[in-house]
């Protein structure tokens, strides 16, 4: 209660400085949390990517041989050699790792362009799409290369203009396809699952352009107790086996750490490079440090000056037997409340900003492949906020408070009571 009284007193006595302290803290927390929350948008679990923490992705392979080197999506046979039958994998999906635009028409007269993902049956087990009608492809349908399509709800609406298209034929690049099902639209920022339509697909020879490269990417769903690192080790071992077997042909696969977790997937890297988590983390922590230290220097200066004015009060407390640790904890506690007020204001401002304006400042999707819909998309509240976020903000407040108040409070606690009361220290 004393903490609140002290803050109210400060607000009355020195409103400008107190508000500057709160505003500085709010601004700092705002930016810290904006960086932190948006960093999490691409890794937080949300339907249909509810199992992001247990999913690993292997979109590429990098090959060196006598003719030079090539990198890109995999040949299906190689993908199976490298990723099928690994312990700790509960499900594995072989898909085309990119989207294509297709011309789609219901009547053969009016054409729409829709983004298409080519997927197999396991894809629908790994990602939890919400089917409005119909059902996913079965593996036998995929193997038979049936011309079937699953539409997103908005695509079905666009094409059917209110008609239920389940079971109907539509033209995809002028080829009739049966609508197998309709799913609720995934959020456009979920780039691994967002699409406007999905077709049943398995790689054939026409899309293989070498013994190693083709059109396949791999999605792995880990078993509940599986360790991503052990999966990586097993894949690396398989790379070595392949290289040993291909040594006579002077062919070598270069291992870049695949399969990748969602966190690794957010880092920028290509098909012939590895994600550099270490550098990314250094950059990130350096950024956090700057965002914490700069306001802390400001706040520390103000705290020191405020405490200088309270030095005789501290002297009286010391004279009446207050220990140094009690003085320090009192001062840090008071300041923590002030930091917390600023922190909460900053967090609220950050959530509002991210919900409504973040797409003006942050690029969530790859500019090369983004549609206008994806480019304009903003994360939802569920993607942004969790209790973890709240506790991270609280932690940042705590750190900011310790940095800005620790030294001034420690110094204030060391005053000589007699000198402090007589005003010699003020």
């Amino acid at each position: 209660m004393n903490y609140f009284k002290q803050i109210l007193f400060e607000l009355r006595e020195r409103p400008l400085i107190t508000w500057i302290t709160i505003a500085g803290t709010a601004l700092s927390l705002f930016l810290l949390m904006a960086v932190y929350m948006n960093d999490n948008v691409n890794t937080v679990s949300t339907p249909p990517e509810s199992r992001r923490a247990d999913i690993m992705l292997a979109p590429f392979v990098h090959v060196k041989n006598d003719h030079g080197e090539s990198s890109g999506s995999m040949n299906r046979n190689l993908a199976e050699k490298l990723y099928t039958g690994i312990d700790g994998v509960s499900s594995i999906s072989y898909i085309a790792p990119w989207s294509e635009s297709k011309i789609v028409s219901l009547d053969g007269k009016n054409f729409q362009t829709l983004k298409e993902k080519k997927v197999d049956a396991a894809f629908w087990q790994i990602y939890d799409y919400d089917f409005v009608s119909g059902s996913p492809f079965s593996q036998s349908e995929v193997d038979a290369r049936v011309n079937e399509v699953i539409l997103s709800e908005s695509s079905a609406r666009l094409l059917g203009k209110g008609e239920d298209l389940t079971g109907r034929d539509i033209l995809v690049d002028n080829v009739p396809h049966k609508v197998k099902g309709i799913v609720r639209d995934p959020h456009p920022l979920l780039s691994n699952t967002w699409s406007e339509m999905w077709t049943a697909w398995t790689e054939d020879e026409s899309s293989q352009w070498s013994d190693e490269n083709g059109s396949t990417g791999v999605i792995i769903l880990l078993s509940p107790d599986a360790d991503p690192n052990s999966i990586k080790k097993e894949v690396e071992r398989r790379y070595e086996v392949f290289n040993a077997q291909s040594a006579a042909e002077n062919k070598k696969l270069i291992y870049h750490g695949s399969p990748f977790t969602y966190r690794e997937q957010t880092l920028s890297f290509g098909s012939n490079t590895a994600p550099d988590s270490k550098s990314a983390n250094i950059r990130k922590y350096l950024f956090y440090a700057v965002l914490l230290i700069l306001p802390a220097i400001n706040l520390s200066g103000m705290t020191r000056s405020r405490l200088r004015r309270r030095i005789s009060e501290i002297g009286v407390r010391r004279a009446y037997g207050a220990t140094r640790s009690r003085i320090i904890s009192q001062l840090i506690g008071e300041n923590f409340l002030l930091t917390l007020i600023g922190g909460i204001l900053g967090l609220i401002a950050c959530v509002i900003f991210t919900l409504f304006f973040s797409n003006l400042f942050i690029n969530y999707v790859d500019v090369w492949n983004a549609t206008a819909l994806q480019a304009a998309a903003r994360p939802t509240f569920e993607m942004l906020f969790s209790w973890k976020i709240f506790f991270v903000a609280l932690f940042f407040c705590f750190i900011l408070n310790i940095i800005s108040t620790g030294i001034p409070a420690w110094k204030a606690s060391r005053v000589n009571p007699a000198e402090a009361i007589s005003g010699k220290n003020s």
Binding site: I20, I103, T113, F361, I362, N363
Partner: protein, 426 residues
């Protein structure tokens, strides 16, 4: 007075050193942000190579008449070309005959505001192989001159430029060619009329028809290479299963009528196996492509704003407290004849000295760490050193302004001190 100012600043060494550290960090960051903003934004003011008002992009797909063979993935060119070519020609003719259309160009990697870069080295006939021109190879039907209103750098008329393309000549742009000015007779412009050829094909020569401004890949870009625009003969261009890209210039003021015709008249969208789709104003394409750079610039500006606010709050708080602590000193000065402007100037000088101390270190760190190390060792930097000096100058000016603003409010408080009251309180 100056000596007294310095000795007083030294007296408050501990408080000042923190402020200098803060100003140092912020100066470095502000220089970095200003550098990035300037180097990105300056290209917006470069002369445009095209006019994109009233220009639309369209996609055209040609489907085989034989739907069964298409369904089976047949890509047999011989079986579809006769009808496909006829359909494509009819479709182009239909589009061109629309009363609101001024010109239509058939484009292959020639659409503006698309980030593809088809890099190839071109050599000059009669010159050593060491003299190369690295160009983004674009191809389009000669109508592109009228559609995009390409800008000549030699004074050639638009019909003549178009004629030269029709004769099979190519158009090149000056980027990446200035190094040839000292080597070639007549400089780079002297290339007009000479022959060029691809490094990989020394048998096919292309006469340089004119020297034009670049078709931009985006509004912000410093062109990473030159451009060579090759003519397409629509009647001979192969038909494939992939979509063709069209550029349409609509007559001035008739965009709405054209879009209305396109949407309401199915015959304008498809003729037998030829289908038009994805009509989009070029301005939308530009906005989507520029979006990444827009966001980047906004982000830098927001960060800049954040750091400047931090500094503003820091100076405001620090000097507010200093003025409070020095009220009796200020009162004494006033009593002894100091004018308001003297007191104001003194506080500003104090802030400026602190800024210069921090800025010199921060700017030096920026040059050493960022410009010298990162840019020269990690990135390909196309921005000249002059931008760096401009960024440092702008950064200093902005920070000096913030120093003045931050000290303004405390300074006004200092000026308003009534000597009699301040000295009586003392």
């Amino acid at each position: 007075m100056k000596r007294f100012l310095i000795s007083q600043m030294l007296h408050e060494f501990r408080s000042n050193i923190w402020l200098i550290i803060e100003l140092t960090i912020v100066s470095g960051v502000v220089c970095y942000l200003c550098y990035n903003i300037i180097s990105v934004v300056q290209n917006l003011f470069a002369p445009a190579g095209i006019e994109y008002d009233n220009v639309y992009t369209l996609q055209m797909n040609i489907f085989s008449d034989d739907k069964d063979s298409a369904a089976n993935g047949s890509d047999n060119q011989n079986s579809i070309q006769t009808s496909a070519w006829r359909d494509r020609q009819d479709m182009m003719a239909k589009l061109r005959s629309n009363p609101h259309v001024e010109a239509v160009a058939f484009a292959d990697n020639a659409n503006p505001f698309v980030l593809n870069f088809q890099g190839n080295e071109l050599l000059i006939e009669g010159q050593p192989d060491s003299i190369t021109y690295y160009a983004n190879v674009r191809s389009a039907s000669p109508d592109i001159v009228r559609v995009l209103k390409l800008k000549t750098l030699t004074g050639l008329s638009t019909p003549e430029m178009e004629n030269r393309l029709r004769r099979g000549e190519i158009l090149i742009s000056p980027e990446q060619m200035h190094h040839l000015d000292d080597i070639l007779d007549g400089g780079v412009r002297g290339l007009v009329g000479k022959n060029m050829f691809f490094k990989y094909d020394s048998l096919t020569y292309y006469k340089v028809g004119d020297y034009v401004r670049q078709i931009p890949r985006c509004s912000y870009e410093v062109h990473p290479g030159g451009m060579a625009l090759f003519p397409i003969d629509e009647d001979k261009y192969p038909v494939s299963k992939y979509p063709h890209s069209l550029l349409v210039r609509v007559k001035d003021g008739e965009s709405q009528q054209f879009v209305s015709d396109y949407n309401s008249d199915p015959a304008l969208r498809s003729i037998r196996g030829a289908v038009l789709y994805d009509l989009q104003p070029l301005e939308i394409t530009r906005n989507l492509t520029d979006r990444d750079f827009d966001i980047q610039t906004r982000m830098y500006a927001a960060m800049l704003g954040f750091f400047l606010i931090i500094i503003f709050l820091g100076l405001l708080g620090t000097f507010w407290l200093r003025v409070q602590q020095r009220s009796s000193e200020i009162a004494l000065r006033k009593v002894t004849g100091a004018k308001n402007s003297d007191i104001f100037r003194r506080l500003i000088s104090e802030g400026s000295i602190l800024l210069i101390s921090g800025f010199l270190i921060g700017a030096a760190a920026f040059i050493v760490i960022f410009k010298k190390y990162i840019v020269e060792h990690v990135w390909v930097d196309l921005t000249p050193w002059s931008t760096c000096w401009v960024a440092i100058g702008v950064s200093y000016a902005v920070m000096q302004l913030i120093v003045i603003l931050g000290i303004w409010i405390p300074a006004r408080r200092a000026i308003s001190i009534k000597p009699a009251i301040a000295l009586r309180d003392e």
